[in-house]
């Protein structure tokens, strides 16, 4: 009659105990939505998506300033978003009484300053050689650059 040695019995019981403790811990410590879409917490998608957007976006400006957007569409600046030049506009969207700060000429130079690295399709100027002392908007209409003011 085979008798299980006492060492083996003791060790087998210990092993079973450890394995059970592991699976119990695993049950309690695994987050509820884990594995919903893949090996991650399904709730993470909602958590990441719940952040508040910062930039309003062109479509939002279009709801009130449709004529300007239509004007933009006629010329080279058609791809621009309003906030690219006018800055973050959420505060104005929430309360249209609050006006956005005035534009400055450095905004134009940021894109249009000549550089050998910039592509040839872009109209570029060297600021200290191009009508120094004057403001860009004296000769150029930002919303429709092919027009003269």
């Amino acid at each position: 009659m085979f008798k299980m040695p006492p060492q083996i019995i003791r060790l087998v019981l210990l092993t079973i105990g450890i394995v059970c403790a592991y699976f119990t811990a695993r049950y309690f410590l695994t987050p509820a939505s884990f594995g919903q879409y893949g090996h991650y917490r399904g709730n993470a998608l909602q958590e990441i998506a719940s952040r508040e957007p910062y930039w309003a976006g062109r479509k939002t400006c279009d709801t009130c300033h449709g004529e300007i957007v239509k004007k933009l569409a006629k010329a080279e600046h058609q791809g621009l978003s309003c906030e690219t030049c006018h800055g973050p506009s959420k505060v104005h969207v929430d309360n249209p009484e609050i006006k956005l700060p005035k534009m400055s000429y450095s905004q134009c130079v940021r894109c249009h300053e000549a550089s050998p690295s910039r592509p040839k399709w872009l109209h570029q100027i060297t600021p200290n050689k191009h009508y120094t002392g004057q403001v860009c908007s004296e000769c150029h209409v930002p919303h429709q650059p092919n027009e003269v003011p």
Binding site: P5, P6, Q7, I8, R10, L11, L29, T30, F34, H39
Partner: protein, 419 residues
């Protein structure tokens, strides 16, 4: 060319030269000294265990004196292995997630299970089977706290009949056999962590796990020799020269194998000259000159190879005392050299940009959780634990001594064989 200097002046901030990705411009490398220390510690565990398994699996009786010392060394280092990782994590309080939701495609996820398996099913189990008889006897002869500790470790199994002791010996042997691939897994997965990163040409290499395992075996064996000699000196007894010579021989073989594979890695890189070779070559020649060429290659590999090789060739012509001196200094060099190797891999891999166009340079801090001080403490801690183990489990005043031969028959204790 003038333009080189000009462009470098424009972009040259204190931390980098050439071009590095903006996200690589950090004050410290992401995987810092703590991640250098971690593979060092697990490597010592694996290597010490391999030394111990030479006794059980390959039945080398001459190595009996260091059997228990090697196992206890492995255990002392194993207990500290998780500490560098915990200190390094951004969220150590979430560390349990690695065992609760392990992502099996990640080698790092294997850590929890491999560590638990090796600690419990290999190290502790083998030690238990070897010490069980002593625990039963010591729990009767000792008093107070020590008696309680020994009694607890018997796990209530007090059967000391001949069949039970035979089973102990047999189980010890089986676990040793299982333990060898487990030891390779314990340290090999760390090498795989680096070897699997194809984004980094210094790391992503099929030889990386092999190199890690081999240098781990070398470092562990060197540690066994080193601690054995230190312990003999501390206890004012002469070391068993047969044991030492045999250990040094195996250390030499392991070192030859390790040097060959590491040399092969370099040879292959230089020969196939793939995309990143320019940046890697200047990395090795400039930023890693002292740690790689001097520290790891020269002092850590070449000098021990030549010294130990000379002893192998000349045999007993060199006096015992001189052999001991050579062994002690070589193992110290090897231990430093393997630490340098971990440094070169971990830190070296983060010194150049993944754009392959530039280098970063970092300053080592003394304090702080990525600083010198903490890492030195973490390397010293296992030695403190080992001292405690030796006091409780390898003390000279304990009545029975550890030379258990497979089969459960204890030989008469000869003075030289005692630690």
């Amino acid at each position: 060319m003038d333009a080189t200097i000009l462009t470098n002046v424009v972009d040259a901030l204190p931390q980098f030269d050439g071009y590095v990705y903006p996200n690589e411009r950090t004050l410290h490398p992401l995987w810092s000294v703590l991640i250098v220390v971690y593979p060092y510690i697990t490597g010592l565990v694996a290597g010490a265990f391999i030394m111990a398994s030479l006794v059980r699996v390959f039945k080398l009786k001459a190595l009996e004196p260091i059997y228990r010392l090697a196992l206890l060394t492995a255990l002392a280092f194993m207990l500290c292995a998780t500490l560098p990782l915990l200190f390094h994590l951004g969220h150590p309080e979430r560390c349990f997630e690695i065992m609760m939701t392990p992502h099996f495609s990640s080698p790092m996820a294997m850590f929890g299970f491999v560590y638990a398996w090796y600690l419990m099913a290999v190290l502790l189990l083998e030690l238990w089977f070897d010490y069980r008889r002593d625990f039963v006897e010591w729990s009767k002869t000792e008093t107070g706290l020590r008696s309680l500790i020994y009694r607890a470790f018997t796990l209530g199994v007090t059967d000391l009949s001949a069949p039970a002791l035979r089973l102990d010996a047999r189980m010890g042997r089986i676990i040793s056999i299982v333990g060898i691939p487990s030891a390779f897994l314990l340290h090999g997965y760390v090498g795989f962590i680096f070897g699997s990163i194809k984004a980094n040409p210094w790391w992503g290499n099929v030889l990386m796990p092999i190199i890690f395992i081999l240098s781990a075996v070398v470092s562990g064996m060197a540690l066994c020799v080193f601690t054995y000699m230190f312990l003999c000196w501390a206890r004012r007894i002469t070391a068993d020269m047969n044991c030492l010579d045999l250990m040094a021989r195996f250390l030499f073989y392991a070192l030859v194998l390790d040097a060959t594979i590491e040399g092969l890695d370099w040879l292959h890189r230089l020969y196939s000259a793939e995309e990143g070779i320019d940046v890697l070559r200047s990395l090795a020649a400039s930023k890693l000159f002292y740690t790689l060429l001097i520290g790891q290659a020269c002092l850590g590999t070449l000098v021990p190879l030549l010294s130990l090789g000379t002893i192998q060739l000349t045999g007993k012509k060199i006096s015992n005392l001189n052999r001991c001196r050579i062994y002690f200094s070589c193992t110290a060099l090897i231990l430093m050299g393997v630490l340098a190797m971990r440094w070169n891999v971990v830190i070296g891999g983060q010194l150049f940009s993944k754009s392959l166009r530039g280098f970063m340079s970092y300053k080592m801090e003394f304090a702080g959780h990525e600083g010198w001080w903490l890492s030195m403490l973490l390397v010293a801690l296992p030695f403190v634990i080992l001292t405690v183990f030796i006091k409780y489990f390898l003390a000279r005043d304990l009545p029975t001594i550890e030379n258990v031969v497979p089969g459960g028959v204890r030989p008469t204790n000869s003075p030289e064989a005692q630690i």
